[in-house]
Protein backbone atom coordinates (compact mmCIF):
# COMPACT_ATOMS: atom_id res chain seq x y z
CA UNK A 1 0.00 0.00 0.00
CA UNK A 2 2.75 2.38 0.97
CA UNK A 3 4.53 1.38 -2.21
CA UNK A 4 1.50 2.40 -4.27
CA UNK A 5 1.30 5.73 -2.44
CA UNK A 6 4.98 6.36 -3.08
CA UNK A 7 4.54 5.62 -6.77
CA UNK A 8 1.61 8.03 -7.04
CA UNK A 9 3.58 10.75 -5.30
CA UNK A 10 6.58 10.15 -7.54
CA UNK A 11 4.43 10.20 -10.69
CA UNK A 12 2.76 13.42 -9.56
CA UNK A 13 6.17 14.96 -8.93
CA UNK A 14 7.37 14.11 -12.45
CA UNK A 15 4.13 15.34 -13.97
CA UNK A 16 4.48 18.70 -12.17
CA UNK A 17 8.14 18.90 -13.13
CA UNK A 18 7.41 18.34 -16.78
CA UNK A 19 4.70 20.98 -16.71
CA UNK A 20 7.15 23.50 -15.31
CA UNK A 21 9.80 22.67 -17.91
CA UNK A 22 8.66 21.36 -21.28
CA UNK A 23 5.06 22.43 -20.94
CA UNK A 24 5.54 26.21 -20.93
CA UNK A 25 8.20 26.08 -23.69
CA UNK A 26 5.91 24.17 -26.03
CA UNK A 27 3.03 26.47 -25.36
CA UNK A 28 5.20 29.54 -25.97
CA UNK A 29 6.52 28.55 -29.35
CA UNK A 30 5.00 28.32 -32.76
CA UNK A 31 5.75 27.35 -36.31
CA UNK A 32 6.53 29.71 -39.13
CA UNK A 33 5.85 28.48 -42.62
CA UNK A 34 5.47 30.15 -45.92
CA UNK A 35 6.44 30.36 -49.54
CA UNK A 36 9.00 32.42 -51.39
CA UNK A 37 7.63 33.71 -54.68
CA UNK A 38 9.35 35.10 -57.72
CA UNK A 39 6.92 36.97 -59.95
CA UNK A 40 9.32 37.61 -62.81
CA UNK A 41 10.34 34.96 -65.28
CA UNK A 42 14.06 34.59 -64.70
CA UNK A 43 16.68 34.42 -67.40
CA UNK A 44 17.76 30.88 -68.21
CA UNK A 45 20.48 29.54 -65.96
CA UNK A 46 23.93 29.40 -67.54
CA UNK A 47 24.97 26.18 -69.19
CA UNK A 48 28.08 24.66 -67.64
CA UNK A 49 31.00 23.71 -69.84
CA UNK A 50 32.29 20.69 -67.98
CA UNK A 51 34.94 20.24 -70.67
CA UNK A 52 37.15 22.64 -68.76
CA UNK A 53 38.03 19.54 -66.70
CA UNK A 54 37.96 16.23 -68.60
CA UNK A 55 37.20 14.41 -65.35
CA UNK A 56 34.07 16.52 -64.90
CA UNK A 57 33.19 15.94 -68.54
CA UNK A 58 33.49 12.17 -68.06
CA UNK A 59 31.34 12.25 -64.94
CA UNK A 60 28.66 14.21 -66.80
CA UNK A 61 29.11 12.63 -70.24
CA UNK A 62 26.10 13.16 -72.47
CA UNK A 63 24.39 15.54 -70.04
CA UNK A 64 23.59 19.20 -70.37
CA UNK A 65 24.20 20.61 -66.90
CA UNK A 66 23.05 24.07 -65.91
CA UNK A 67 24.03 26.23 -62.99
CA UNK A 68 21.15 26.32 -60.52
CA UNK A 69 21.33 30.02 -59.84
CA UNK A 70 17.58 30.66 -59.99
CA UNK A 71 15.32 27.66 -59.48
CA UNK A 72 11.68 28.66 -59.92
CA UNK A 73 8.79 26.21 -59.90
CA UNK A 74 5.99 26.38 -62.46
CA UNK A 75 3.77 28.23 -60.00
CA UNK A 76 6.45 30.81 -59.15
CA UNK A 77 7.96 29.27 -56.00
CA UNK A 78 11.62 30.18 -55.57
CA UNK A 79 14.02 27.52 -54.27
CA UNK A 80 17.34 27.91 -52.49
CA UNK A 81 16.35 30.90 -50.39
CA UNK A 82 17.90 31.15 -46.92
CA UNK A 83 15.21 31.98 -44.35
CA UNK A 84 16.16 33.08 -40.84
CA UNK A 85 14.39 34.34 -37.74
CA UNK A 86 16.96 37.02 -37.01
CA UNK A 87 15.33 38.27 -33.79
CA UNK A 88 15.36 34.85 -32.10
CA UNK A 89 17.38 34.19 -28.94
CA UNK A 90 20.96 33.11 -29.53
CA UNK A 91 22.31 29.66 -28.85
CA UNK A 92 25.09 27.39 -29.98
CA UNK A 93 24.56 24.24 -31.99
CA UNK A 94 26.32 20.93 -32.38
CA UNK A 95 26.84 18.31 -35.05
CA UNK A 96 27.83 18.91 -38.62
CA UNK A 97 26.49 20.05 -41.96
CA UNK A 98 27.72 18.61 -45.23
CA UNK A 99 28.79 20.43 -48.36
CA UNK A 100 29.25 17.68 -50.92
CA UNK A 101 31.24 18.12 -54.11
CA UNK A 102 29.71 15.60 -56.45
CA UNK A 103 29.50 15.58 -60.22
CA UNK A 104 31.57 18.78 -60.14
CA UNK A 105 28.70 20.59 -58.46
CA UNK A 106 27.95 21.60 -54.87
CA UNK A 107 25.20 19.67 -53.10
CA UNK A 108 23.49 21.58 -51.70
CA UNK A 109 24.63 24.90 -53.06
CA UNK A 110 22.86 26.87 -50.32
CA UNK A 111 23.35 25.65 -46.75
CA UNK A 112 22.06 26.85 -43.38
CA UNK A 113 24.11 26.16 -40.26
CA UNK A 114 24.43 27.18 -36.63
CA UNK A 115 27.47 28.51 -34.86
CA UNK A 116 28.97 25.60 -32.93
CA UNK A 117 28.41 23.16 -35.75
CA UNK A 118 31.10 21.90 -38.09
CA UNK A 119 31.03 22.39 -41.83
CA UNK A 120 32.24 19.23 -43.54
CA UNK A 121 33.35 19.76 -47.11
CA UNK A 122 33.65 16.42 -48.86
CA UNK A 123 35.04 15.60 -52.27
CA UNK A 124 33.01 12.82 -53.86
CA UNK A 125 34.64 13.25 -57.27
CA UNK A 126 37.81 11.63 -58.53
CA UNK A 127 39.14 14.98 -59.56
CA UNK A 128 40.88 17.90 -57.92
CA UNK A 129 38.57 20.35 -56.19
CA UNK A 130 39.51 23.41 -54.23
CA UNK A 131 37.31 24.86 -51.52
CA UNK A 132 37.87 28.55 -51.03
CA UNK A 133 36.06 30.86 -48.60
CA UNK A 134 35.58 34.28 -50.12
CA UNK A 135 34.96 36.21 -46.94
CA UNK A 136 35.69 39.94 -46.85
CA UNK A 137 35.39 39.91 -43.05
CA UNK A 138 38.16 37.26 -42.85
CA UNK A 139 36.23 35.21 -40.31
CA UNK A 140 36.70 32.22 -42.58
CA UNK A 141 39.89 31.95 -44.60
CA UNK A 142 40.07 28.34 -45.75
CA UNK A 143 41.45 27.78 -49.24
CA UNK A 144 42.25 24.11 -49.54
CA UNK A 145 42.90 21.58 -52.29
CA UNK A 146 41.09 18.25 -52.21
CA UNK A 147 42.79 16.14 -54.86
CA UNK A 148 41.04 12.83 -54.34
CA UNK A 149 37.64 11.36 -53.67
CA UNK A 150 36.76 10.88 -50.02
CA UNK A 151 38.74 13.80 -48.67
CA UNK A 152 36.93 15.88 -46.06
CA UNK A 153 37.77 19.34 -44.80
CA UNK A 154 36.22 20.10 -41.41
CA UNK A 155 35.63 23.73 -40.62
CA UNK A 156 34.43 24.68 -37.12
CA UNK A 157 31.77 27.34 -37.48
CA UNK A 158 32.77 29.80 -34.77
CA UNK A 159 31.29 33.02 -36.06
CA UNK A 160 28.01 34.00 -37.64
CA UNK A 161 28.21 34.98 -41.29
CA UNK A 162 25.30 35.63 -43.62
CA UNK A 163 26.20 34.58 -46.25
CA UNK A 164 29.60 32.90 -46.42
CA UNK A 165 30.53 32.56 -50.06
CA UNK A 166 32.55 29.49 -51.05
CA UNK A 167 33.85 28.59 -54.46
CA UNK A 168 36.14 26.20 -56.29
CA UNK A 169 39.06 27.97 -57.92
CA UNK A 170 39.42 25.14 -60.42
CA UNK A 171 35.80 24.90 -61.58
CA UNK A 172 34.47 28.43 -61.82
CA UNK A 173 30.83 27.36 -62.01
CA UNK A 174 31.03 25.81 -58.53
CA UNK A 175 29.87 28.45 -56.13
CA UNK A 176 27.91 28.07 -52.90
CA UNK A 177 26.66 30.04 -49.92
CA UNK A 178 26.40 29.12 -46.26
CA UNK A 179 24.20 31.04 -43.86
CA UNK A 180 25.84 30.71 -40.43
CA UNK A 181 23.72 32.05 -37.59
CA UNK A 182 23.62 32.07 -33.80
CA UNK A 183 20.36 30.19 -33.42
CA UNK A 184 18.56 27.15 -34.81
CA UNK A 185 15.69 29.06 -36.40
CA UNK A 186 16.41 28.82 -40.10
CA UNK A 187 15.45 26.97 -43.26
CA UNK A 188 16.17 26.77 -46.97
CA UNK A 189 13.19 26.99 -49.31
CA UNK A 190 12.51 23.79 -51.22
CA UNK A 191 11.91 23.30 -54.95
CA UNK A 192 8.42 24.75 -54.64
CA UNK A 193 9.58 27.76 -52.62
CA UNK A 194 8.13 26.45 -49.36
CA UNK A 195 9.82 26.52 -45.96
CA UNK A 196 8.96 25.65 -42.36
CA UNK A 197 10.70 26.68 -39.14
CA UNK A 198 9.47 25.02 -35.96
CA UNK A 199 9.68 25.89 -32.26
CA UNK A 200 10.10 29.61 -32.86
CA UNK A 201 9.54 31.68 -29.68
CA UNK A 202 6.08 33.23 -29.75
CA UNK A 203 5.68 36.96 -30.20
CA UNK A 204 6.97 39.47 -32.70
CA UNK A 205 9.83 38.07 -34.76
CA UNK A 206 11.84 39.42 -37.64
CA UNK A 207 12.21 37.10 -40.60
CA UNK A 208 15.01 37.71 -43.06
CA UNK A 209 15.35 35.88 -46.35
CA UNK A 210 18.23 35.92 -48.78
CA UNK A 211 18.66 34.76 -52.33
CA UNK A 212 21.90 34.60 -54.28
CA UNK A 213 20.60 36.73 -57.14
CA UNK A 214 17.80 38.76 -55.59
CA UNK A 215 19.34 39.50 -52.19
CA UNK A 216 17.60 40.09 -48.84
CA UNK A 217 13.99 40.80 -47.86
CA UNK A 218 12.65 41.32 -44.33
CA UNK A 219 9.27 41.01 -42.62
CA UNK A 220 8.06 41.12 -39.04
CA UNK A 221 5.48 38.54 -37.98
CA UNK A 222 3.58 37.75 -34.84
CA UNK A 223 4.29 34.11 -34.04
CA UNK A 224 1.29 32.47 -32.43
CA UNK A 225 2.03 30.28 -29.45
CA UNK A 226 1.17 26.67 -30.21
CA UNK A 227 0.05 27.52 -33.71
CA UNK A 228 1.35 28.08 -37.18
CA UNK A 229 2.02 31.46 -38.69
CA UNK A 230 2.19 31.90 -42.42
CA UNK A 231 4.52 34.41 -43.99
CA UNK A 232 5.17 34.69 -47.70
CA UNK A 233 7.88 36.69 -49.43
CA UNK A 234 7.74 37.93 -52.98
CA UNK A 235 10.66 38.89 -55.17
CA UNK A 236 9.80 40.91 -58.25
CA UNK A 237 13.05 40.10 -60.00
CA UNK A 238 14.33 43.66 -59.77
CA UNK A 239 16.11 43.22 -56.44
CA UNK A 240 19.87 43.03 -56.08
CA UNK A 241 21.94 40.95 -53.68
CA UNK A 242 23.77 42.50 -50.77
CA UNK A 243 26.47 39.89 -51.04
CA UNK A 244 28.13 39.83 -54.40
CA UNK A 245 29.07 36.50 -55.91
CA UNK A 246 32.21 38.17 -57.14
CA UNK A 247 35.12 39.53 -55.19
CA UNK A 248 34.21 42.02 -52.47
CA UNK A 249 34.07 45.66 -53.32
CA UNK A 250 37.05 47.43 -51.85
CA UNK A 251 37.54 51.10 -51.27
CA UNK A 252 40.61 52.51 -52.90
CA UNK A 253 42.12 55.95 -52.91
CA UNK A 254 43.22 57.13 -56.30
CA UNK A 255 46.28 59.37 -56.11
CA UNK A 256 45.95 62.78 -57.70
CA UNK A 257 47.08 62.82 -61.30
CA UNK A 258 46.46 59.13 -61.86
CA UNK A 259 44.98 58.50 -65.27
CA UNK A 260 45.22 54.73 -65.49
CA UNK A 261 44.52 51.98 -62.99
CA UNK A 262 45.88 48.49 -63.46
CA UNK A 263 44.26 45.65 -61.58
CA UNK A 264 46.09 42.41 -60.96
CA UNK A 265 45.42 39.23 -59.05
CA UNK A 266 47.16 38.82 -55.70
CA UNK A 267 50.68 37.62 -56.16
CA UNK A 268 51.20 39.28 -59.48
Amino acid sequence: MSLQRSSIILASFFACFSLFTAGPVLSQTGTISGTIHLTATPRPNPLIRMGADPNCLKINAGKRVFEEVVVRSSDGGLANVFVHVSSAPKSSGSGSVLLDQKGCMYHPMIIAAQVGQTLEVRNDDSTLHNIHAVDPSKKYTFDQAQPSAGMVLSVPLKDPEVMLHVKCNIHPWMTGFIGIVNDPFYAISDDTGKFTIKNVPAGKQTIEVWHEVYGPLTQTVDVKAGGSTNVDFTYTGNEHPSTSKNLPIQEITIPAGTNTLTFASPGQ
Binding site: G51, D53, G62
Partner: protein
Protein backbone atom coordinates in the same frame (compact mmCIF):
# COMPACT_ATOMS: atom_id res chain seq x y z
CA UNK B 1 66.40 4.32 -77.71
CA UNK B 2 65.95 2.97 -74.23
CA UNK B 3 68.28 0.06 -73.41
CA UNK B 4 68.44 -2.41 -70.56
CA UNK B 5 71.46 -0.73 -69.05
CA UNK B 6 70.12 2.78 -69.00
CA UNK B 7 66.80 1.50 -67.70
CA UNK B 8 68.65 0.10 -64.71
CA UNK B 9 70.54 3.31 -64.31
CA UNK B 10 67.37 5.33 -64.35
CA UNK B 11 65.78 3.14 -61.73
CA UNK B 12 68.79 2.93 -59.42
CA UNK B 13 69.70 6.58 -59.62
CA UNK B 14 66.28 7.92 -58.93
CA UNK B 15 64.74 6.72 -55.72
CA UNK B 16 61.43 7.92 -56.65
CA UNK B 17 57.76 7.47 -56.05
CA UNK B 18 56.66 3.90 -56.52
CA UNK B 19 54.08 4.73 -59.11
CA UNK B 20 56.49 6.59 -61.33
CA UNK B 21 59.14 3.90 -60.95
CA UNK B 22 56.58 1.36 -62.02
CA UNK B 23 55.81 3.48 -65.02
CA UNK B 24 59.45 3.71 -66.05
CA UNK B 25 59.82 -0.04 -65.58
CA UNK B 26 56.80 -0.65 -67.72
CA UNK B 27 58.08 1.58 -70.45
CA UNK B 28 61.54 -0.01 -70.29
CA UNK B 29 60.19 -3.53 -70.48
CA UNK B 30 57.97 -2.71 -73.38
CA UNK B 31 60.73 -0.89 -75.16
CA UNK B 32 63.43 -3.52 -74.67
CA UNK B 33 61.29 -6.46 -75.57
CA UNK B 34 59.74 -4.56 -78.44
CA UNK B 35 57.64 -7.53 -79.43
CA UNK B 36 53.99 -7.56 -80.32
CA UNK B 37 53.21 -9.99 -77.50
CA UNK B 38 54.71 -7.59 -74.97
CA UNK B 39 52.38 -4.85 -75.90
CA UNK B 40 49.12 -6.65 -75.59
CA UNK B 41 47.60 -3.65 -73.94
CA UNK B 42 48.67 -1.42 -76.73
CA UNK B 43 47.47 -3.95 -79.22
CA UNK B 44 44.04 -3.71 -77.68
CA UNK B 45 44.10 0.01 -78.29
CA UNK B 46 42.91 1.28 -81.59
CA UNK B 47 45.22 2.72 -84.16
CA UNK B 48 45.33 6.41 -83.38
CA UNK B 49 43.81 8.78 -85.85
CA UNK B 50 46.15 10.91 -87.85
CA UNK B 51 46.27 14.33 -86.33
CA UNK B 52 48.00 16.25 -89.02
CA UNK B 53 45.78 19.25 -88.53
CA UNK B 54 47.24 19.92 -85.08
CA UNK B 55 50.74 20.93 -85.94
CA UNK B 56 50.12 24.64 -86.14
CA UNK B 57 49.48 24.87 -82.40
CA UNK B 58 49.45 26.60 -80.05
CA UNK B 59 46.69 28.85 -81.12
CA UNK B 60 45.83 32.13 -79.58
CA UNK B 61 42.89 31.71 -77.24
CA UNK B 62 39.74 33.05 -78.80
CA UNK B 63 36.60 34.23 -77.08
CA UNK B 64 33.66 32.07 -77.96
CA UNK B 65 31.00 33.84 -80.01
CA UNK B 66 28.19 31.65 -81.40
CA UNK B 67 26.72 34.54 -83.37
CA UNK B 68 29.72 34.32 -85.68
CA UNK B 69 28.59 30.80 -86.65
CA UNK B 70 25.22 31.93 -87.97
CA UNK B 71 24.79 30.97 -91.59
CA UNK B 72 28.07 29.09 -91.59
CA UNK B 73 26.58 25.91 -93.11
CA UNK B 74 26.06 27.80 -96.36
CA UNK B 75 29.63 29.14 -96.47
CA UNK B 76 31.89 26.21 -97.37
CA UNK B 77 35.23 27.97 -96.91
CA UNK B 78 34.31 29.58 -93.59
CA UNK B 79 32.80 26.31 -92.41
CA UNK B 80 35.94 24.33 -93.16
CA UNK B 81 38.07 26.94 -91.44
CA UNK B 82 35.88 26.90 -88.33
CA UNK B 83 35.72 23.10 -88.17
CA UNK B 84 39.48 22.72 -88.41
CA UNK B 85 39.82 25.29 -85.61
CA UNK B 86 38.35 22.86 -83.06
CA UNK B 87 41.40 20.70 -82.28
CA UNK B 88 39.86 19.09 -79.24
CA UNK B 89 37.19 17.28 -81.24
CA UNK B 90 38.99 16.63 -84.54
CA UNK B 91 38.94 12.87 -83.97
CA UNK B 92 35.48 12.74 -82.43
CA UNK B 93 32.25 11.58 -84.03
CA UNK B 94 28.93 12.01 -82.26
CA UNK B 95 25.48 10.52 -82.30
CA UNK B 96 22.72 13.12 -82.18
CA UNK B 97 19.32 12.11 -80.84
CA UNK B 98 15.98 13.88 -80.82
CA UNK B 99 12.34 13.15 -80.02
CA UNK B 100 11.60 9.90 -78.25
CA UNK B 101 15.10 8.58 -79.02
CA UNK B 102 16.49 11.47 -76.99
CA UNK B 103 14.23 10.61 -74.08
CA UNK B 104 14.79 6.88 -74.09
CA UNK B 105 18.47 6.58 -74.94
CA UNK B 106 20.57 8.03 -72.15
CA UNK B 107 23.64 6.01 -73.03
CA UNK B 108 24.44 5.07 -76.63
CA UNK B 109 25.21 1.41 -76.09
CA UNK B 110 25.44 -0.85 -79.17
CA UNK B 111 22.27 -2.64 -78.06
CA UNK B 112 20.35 0.63 -77.80
CA UNK B 113 21.45 1.73 -81.28
CA UNK B 114 21.36 -1.57 -83.15
CA UNK B 115 17.87 -1.23 -84.64
CA UNK B 116 17.44 2.52 -84.40
CA UNK B 117 17.02 4.29 -87.76
CA UNK B 118 20.17 6.41 -87.97
CA UNK B 119 21.02 8.86 -90.73
CA UNK B 120 24.62 9.34 -91.78
CA UNK B 121 26.47 11.15 -94.53
CA UNK B 122 27.60 8.62 -97.11
CA UNK B 123 31.35 8.90 -96.64
CA UNK B 124 34.02 6.39 -95.60
CA UNK B 125 34.48 7.63 -92.03
CA UNK B 126 30.83 7.43 -90.98
CA UNK B 127 30.27 4.24 -92.97
CA UNK B 128 33.12 2.72 -91.03
CA UNK B 129 31.51 3.73 -87.72
CA UNK B 130 28.21 2.18 -88.80
CA UNK B 131 30.06 -1.04 -89.52
CA UNK B 132 32.03 -0.96 -86.26
CA UNK B 133 28.83 -0.54 -84.27
CA UNK B 134 26.92 -3.14 -86.30
CA UNK B 135 24.11 -0.70 -87.03
CA UNK B 136 21.29 -2.40 -88.89
CA UNK B 137 19.09 0.51 -89.91
CA UNK B 138 21.34 3.10 -91.52
CA UNK B 139 20.02 5.71 -93.91
CA UNK B 140 22.70 7.36 -96.00
CA UNK B 141 22.49 10.83 -97.49
CA UNK B 142 25.03 12.01 -100.03
CA UNK B 143 27.85 14.33 -98.99
CA UNK B 144 26.88 17.72 -100.30
CA UNK B 145 28.50 21.12 -100.21
CA UNK B 146 25.07 22.70 -100.48
CA UNK B 147 23.87 20.91 -97.36
CA UNK B 148 26.97 19.72 -95.49
CA UNK B 149 25.06 18.67 -92.37
CA UNK B 150 21.87 17.24 -93.87
CA UNK B 151 21.43 14.63 -91.08
CA UNK B 152 21.28 17.47 -88.54
CA UNK B 153 18.68 19.26 -90.67
CA UNK B 154 16.64 16.08 -90.73
CA UNK B 155 17.01 15.61 -86.97
CA UNK B 156 15.80 19.18 -86.50
CA UNK B 157 12.79 18.71 -88.77
CA UNK B 158 11.82 15.41 -87.18
CA UNK B 159 12.46 13.43 -90.37
CA UNK B 160 14.83 11.26 -88.35
CA UNK B 161 15.53 10.91 -84.65
CA UNK B 162 19.17 9.92 -84.84
CA UNK B 163 22.23 10.87 -86.84
CA UNK B 164 25.95 10.25 -86.67
CA UNK B 165 28.26 13.07 -87.73
CA UNK B 166 31.76 14.37 -87.24
CA UNK B 167 31.75 16.24 -83.91
CA UNK B 168 32.79 19.71 -85.10
CA UNK B 169 30.25 19.56 -87.94
CA UNK B 170 27.49 18.56 -85.52
CA UNK B 171 28.45 21.43 -83.21
CA UNK B 172 28.44 23.96 -86.03
CA UNK B 173 25.10 22.69 -87.29
CA UNK B 174 23.60 22.76 -83.82
CA UNK B 175 24.51 26.42 -83.46
CA UNK B 176 23.46 27.40 -86.96
CA UNK B 177 20.16 25.52 -86.86
CA UNK B 178 19.40 26.42 -83.23
CA UNK B 179 18.59 22.85 -82.20
CA UNK B 180 20.00 23.03 -78.63
CA UNK B 181 17.12 21.87 -76.44
CA UNK B 182 15.71 19.49 -79.04
CA UNK B 183 18.71 17.18 -79.09
CA UNK B 184 21.17 15.22 -77.03
CA UNK B 185 24.65 14.37 -78.21
CA UNK B 186 27.16 11.68 -77.27
CA UNK B 187 30.62 10.91 -78.50
CA UNK B 188 30.71 7.59 -80.23
CA UNK B 189 33.37 5.11 -81.31
CA UNK B 190 37.13 5.40 -81.16
CA UNK B 191 39.17 8.31 -82.56
CA UNK B 192 38.84 8.60 -86.30
CA UNK B 193 40.17 10.95 -88.92
CA UNK B 194 38.01 13.91 -89.94
CA UNK B 195 35.98 13.48 -93.13
CA UNK B 196 38.29 13.59 -96.11
CA UNK B 197 36.47 16.60 -97.54
CA UNK B 198 37.74 18.64 -94.60
CA UNK B 199 41.31 17.37 -94.73
CA UNK B 200 44.13 19.73 -95.48
CA UNK B 201 44.63 23.34 -94.60
CA UNK B 202 45.84 24.73 -91.34
CA UNK B 203 43.69 25.23 -88.29
CA UNK B 204 42.79 28.71 -87.23
CA UNK B 205 41.28 29.66 -83.91
CA UNK B 206 38.18 31.76 -84.52
CA UNK B 207 35.32 32.88 -82.27
CA UNK B 208 33.06 30.46 -84.17
CA UNK B 209 35.50 27.57 -83.68
CA UNK B 210 35.63 28.36 -79.96
CA UNK B 211 31.83 28.42 -79.89
CA UNK B 212 31.70 25.01 -81.58
CA UNK B 213 34.06 23.57 -78.95
CA UNK B 214 31.91 25.14 -76.23
CA UNK B 215 28.78 23.72 -77.78
CA UNK B 216 30.16 20.18 -77.82
CA UNK B 217 31.45 20.63 -74.26
CA UNK B 218 28.04 21.77 -73.09
CA UNK B 219 26.42 18.60 -74.44
CA UNK B 220 28.90 16.51 -72.45
CA UNK B 221 30.67 15.25 -75.57
CA UNK B 222 33.91 13.49 -74.65
CA UNK B 223 36.90 13.84 -76.95
CA UNK B 224 37.14 10.42 -78.60
CA UNK B 225 40.66 9.92 -77.24
CA UNK B 226 39.13 9.60 -73.76
CA UNK B 227 37.07 6.61 -74.87
CA UNK B 228 40.17 4.46 -75.32
CA UNK B 229 43.24 3.83 -73.17
CA UNK B 230 46.56 5.48 -73.82
CA UNK B 231 48.39 3.80 -76.64
CA UNK B 232 51.64 3.11 -74.82
CA UNK B 233 53.29 1.56 -77.82
CA UNK B 234 52.84 4.64 -79.96
CA UNK B 235 54.35 6.74 -77.18
CA UNK B 236 57.59 4.79 -77.16
CA UNK B 237 58.55 6.20 -80.51
CA UNK B 238 58.17 9.74 -79.32
CA UNK B 239 61.49 11.57 -79.45
CA UNK B 240 62.36 13.95 -76.66
CA UNK B 241 61.68 17.40 -78.06
CA UNK B 242 64.72 19.42 -78.97
CA UNK B 243 64.76 22.27 -76.52
CA UNK B 244 64.40 25.81 -77.73
CA UNK B 245 63.52 28.95 -75.84
CA UNK B 246 61.03 29.81 -78.54
CA UNK B 247 59.13 26.59 -77.88
CA UNK B 248 59.42 27.11 -74.13
CA UNK B 249 57.76 30.49 -74.53
CA UNK B 250 55.01 28.95 -76.64
CA UNK B 251 54.63 26.33 -73.94
CA UNK B 252 54.18 29.07 -71.39
CA UNK B 253 51.08 30.24 -73.26
CA UNK B 254 49.60 26.74 -73.39
CA UNK B 255 50.44 26.13 -69.74
CA UNK B 256 48.56 29.25 -68.70
CA UNK B 257 45.57 28.29 -70.84
CA UNK B 258 45.26 24.67 -69.77
CA UNK B 259 47.40 23.79 -66.74
CA UNK B 260 47.46 26.91 -64.57
CA UNK B 261 43.91 26.34 -63.35
CA UNK B 262 45.13 23.42 -61.23
CA UNK B 263 48.88 23.96 -61.04
CA UNK B 264 48.74 27.71 -60.50
CA UNK B 265 50.26 30.37 -62.73
CA UNK B 266 53.74 29.72 -61.34
CA UNK B 267 53.72 25.89 -61.45
CA UNK B 268 54.96 25.65 -57.87
CA UNK B 269 53.33 23.95 -54.91
CA UNK B 270 50.30 25.69 -53.46
CA UNK B 271 48.20 23.99 -50.74
CA UNK B 272 45.09 25.33 -52.41
CA UNK B 273 45.88 23.66 -55.71
CA UNK B 274 47.32 20.46 -57.20
CA UNK B 275 49.55 18.67 -54.68
CA UNK B 276 52.74 18.76 -56.71
CA UNK B 277 55.55 21.19 -57.41
CA UNK B 278 56.02 20.89 -61.13
CA UNK B 279 59.34 22.71 -61.16
CA UNK B 280 60.78 20.05 -58.88
CA UNK B 281 59.04 17.03 -60.35
CA UNK B 282 59.89 17.91 -63.95
CA UNK B 283 63.57 17.30 -63.16
CA UNK B 284 62.76 13.66 -62.43
CA UNK B 285 60.94 13.07 -65.67
CA UNK B 286 62.12 12.11 -69.07
CA UNK B 287 59.76 13.40 -71.70
CA UNK B 288 58.05 10.06 -72.21
CA UNK B 289 57.10 9.81 -68.54
CA UNK B 290 55.83 13.38 -68.52
CA UNK B 291 53.79 12.74 -71.63
CA UNK B 292 52.32 9.55 -70.22
CA UNK B 293 51.12 11.33 -67.10
CA UNK B 294 49.69 14.27 -69.04
CA UNK B 295 47.80 11.94 -71.38
CA UNK B 296 46.67 9.47 -68.74
CA UNK B 297 46.22 11.77 -65.75
CA UNK B 298 46.94 10.81 -62.16
CA UNK B 299 43.70 9.71 -60.62
CA UNK B 300 45.15 9.51 -57.09
CA UNK B 301 46.07 13.17 -57.26
CA UNK B 302 42.95 14.34 -59.02
CA UNK B 303 44.62 15.04 -62.35
CA UNK B 304 42.39 14.42 -65.37
CA UNK B 305 43.65 12.65 -68.48
CA UNK B 306 44.38 15.33 -71.05
CA UNK B 307 44.57 13.19 -74.17
CA UNK B 308 42.21 14.77 -76.61
CA UNK B 309 42.30 18.06 -74.73
CA UNK B 310 46.00 18.62 -75.46
CA UNK B 311 47.72 17.76 -78.70
CA UNK B 312 51.07 15.99 -78.89
CA UNK B 313 52.70 19.24 -79.92
CA UNK B 314 51.20 21.12 -77.01
CA UNK B 315 52.45 18.53 -74.51
CA UNK B 316 55.96 18.89 -75.93
CA UNK B 317 55.76 22.67 -75.64
CA UNK B 318 54.58 22.52 -72.03
CA UNK B 319 57.42 20.14 -71.20
CA UNK B 320 59.93 22.58 -72.62
CA UNK B 321 58.36 25.43 -70.70
CA UNK B 322 58.64 23.54 -67.41
CA UNK B 323 62.21 22.47 -68.14
CA UNK B 324 63.09 26.08 -68.88
CA UNK B 325 61.44 27.23 -65.67
CA UNK B 326 63.13 24.55 -63.59
CA UNK B 327 66.51 25.65 -64.96
CA UNK B 328 65.71 29.32 -64.40
CA UNK B 329 65.92 30.04 -68.10
CA UNK B 330 62.49 31.61 -68.14
CA UNK B 331 60.86 34.01 -65.76
CA UNK B 332 57.83 32.87 -63.83
CA UNK B 333 54.21 33.62 -64.28
CA UNK B 334 51.62 34.28 -66.93
CA UNK B 335 52.78 35.59 -70.24
Amino acid sequence: MVTKSNCREIILRKRWLTSVTSLVLLICVVSVLSQPAAVAAAGASPVPAKTSGFSALPQEAQASDPTTCKGILSQPAALKNALLGVPKYQSTYVIVLSGSAKDTITSPTPAALADLPIEIIDQPETNSIAEDLHLKNVQRVPASEASPAQPMVDVGSGKTQAAILWGPLAGAADIDLGLEDKISMFSIDRPKDPPAIYAGGGSTATPCAAAIADDLDSFGVLPAELLVPVNLRSMLNTPTPIFSMQNAEKGQVVFQQVCARCHGPYAVHDPALAPVDLLKSIRRFQFIGFKYIVMNGRSQKGMPPLRGTLTQDQIALIYQYLVARSKHLLTAGPK
